[in-house]
Amino acid sequence: MTPTSSDSTSTPVALEARGLGHSYGPREVLGRIDFAVRRGEFVCIVGPSGVGKTTLLRCLAGLQRSTKGELLVLGERVTAPQPGVAVVFQDYSRSLMPWSSVLHNVTLPLRANGVSRSEADRRAREALTQVGLAAAVVHQYPWQLSGGMQQRVAIARALAYNPTVLLMDEPFASVDAQTRADLEDLVLRLQHSLHLTVLLVTHDIDEAVYLSDRVVALSGSPATVADIVDVPLGAERDQIETKGTHEFAAIRAEVHGLVRHAATSGSGSGSGAEA
């Protein structure tokens, strides 16, 4: 019934947190975090805002050193951004370069890492097609596109980078509900067809359950892993059907309980930790 859990022993681990902790000065944001994500898995980290999800993701991305514990990505200790890891940021309007065309936005990381112009161009166009952007937008500026299309560009930038691991920080928080559903399905499809390992951070429980093979619920202040919930909903998911099933409702209720507990015990001031 649950193919992911039966595979779990044989599939290698893509990223792992061991006793990870982080403090900003005297303020401890992350307590002891332990979890592992296997190759080809889709894992969501869910928790109320201010709980330190973004800090965790930044540590995984190598953008920030954790103050305690260690992180392994693709078998290596993370001290700096790793090759094979791509990040999609929440704020597409700020993470895309407004002065460059869509194509140049996607090719820059490739060209900067030594890929030839023609190869970078080919990969960028392929990635843009994969995320469903027409060839016509290639030479437009990102700000000429809608929010959803801009986030597609950001996803294409990550795909063209040929990542093994894709880290996503609240990637759909700034788009409208319909676009959000479309983008969720897009990412699910890409994850399957490209065999990506995806770690996505979100505060939206429905989204986390809908997308994940497993959900890591964070709680408390400093945050620790409240529980890791398996999501045995199969590989094929549908916005209406899947969300209508009893299993979905049951898992959602379970995660909700974990997170609600976190919300009542967590501190209210979130600006510092999440920024």
Binding site: G62, L63, R94, W99
Partner: protein, 279 residues
């Protein structure tokens, strides 16, 4: 005209803004604007009848004199010298001020060490050193050039220091996570992100550079349009003086127009320019 304060995030909103009904067409506005210019000319003409003709000559006389001057070589030489000094001065300020400012601004120790010093130096009215420059260089083009540079460099330098700290932090993160090397980051992300702020300094520098070029010529007696204005006044030839003041105004317009054209090209992507194209 509608003023869009928020750059529209969605492409499909743009046509809405562009199609806001305008009550008057472009041509009607051109006619109205011509009318106001003519009206201003009329006011000038009317004022000239109140003053003795030597004090305030009527516009037609000044224009006629301008025509006479325009066929002399000296007229064009004066313009060429003023524009040349201005352009060279501004170029020096840009070539020195922008890289230096960005480098200082990107380095906290550099920014801290120079803050007090630059803060003091930029508030000194540049014209204060004119007598010194006159003694050292004499009434020559070099004197005017140094004067113009010593005044116009500050807004460019200081705005560039500021600009270096205004880059989008998220883009710096993006660049790190995609392991973009430093040189690429500077060329493709840091510098383009700083340009809008740098341009503010360049705009100020442009105004001050022209002001000081003309001031140096007018006060210091170095050749150029400023000198021609002072010279005409010294000979009580007020018509000629007004003609050269008009020339100075036209130079100002050309310089301003040049700046806006450059800004439009460089900042096509920037919200301020996008908005302008919509309204």
């Amino acid at each position: 005209m509608t003023i869009q304060t928020e750059p529209s995030a969605r492409a499909d909103e743009a046509p809405d803004a562009a199609s806001t009904p305008r009550r008057l067409g472009r041509l009607s506005w051109l006619l109205i604007q011509t009318g106001t210019v003519l009206l201003a000319g009329g006011v000038w003409w009317f004022a000239s009848t109140l003053f003795p003709p030597s004090t305030l000559p009527p516009p037609a006389e000044v224009i006629a004199r301008l025509g006479e001057l325009a066929i002399t070589g000296g007229f064009w030489v004066a313009i060429a010298i003023t524009l040349g000094t201005f352009a060279l001065g501004l170029a020096i300020c840009i070539v020195v001020g922008i890289p230096l400012g960005l480098a200082i601004g990107a380095n906290p120790i550099g920014a801290g060490s120079t803050r007090l010093l630059f803060d003091f130096l930029r508030t000194i009215p540049p014209i204060a050193i004119l007598p010194l420059l006159l003694l050292v260089f004499g009434a020559k083009f070099e004197m005017v050039l140094v004067l113009a540079v010593s005044g116009a460099i500050w807004p460019i330098l200081i705005q560039s220091i500021y600009a270096a700290r205004q880059g989008e932090a998220l883009l710096a993160e993006m660049s790190r996570s995609y392991r973009i090397p430093r040189a690429w980051y500077i060329r493709h992300i840091f510098v383009p992100g700083a340009i809008p702020f740098v341009m503010t300094g360049v705009r100020l520098g442009t105004t001050i550079c022209l002001l000081l070029t003309v001031s140096g010529e007018l006060l210091g007696g170095a050749p150029g349009v400023g000198f021609e204005i002072a010279n005409a006044q010294a000979f009580y030839d007020n018509t000629r003086m007004y003609a050269y003041v008009l020339v100075a105004a036209v130079l100002g317009l050309i310089v301003n127009g040049g700046f806006w054209a450059a800004q439009r090209r460089l900042l096509r992507w920037h919200p301020s320019v996008r908005r302008e194209q919509h309204s």
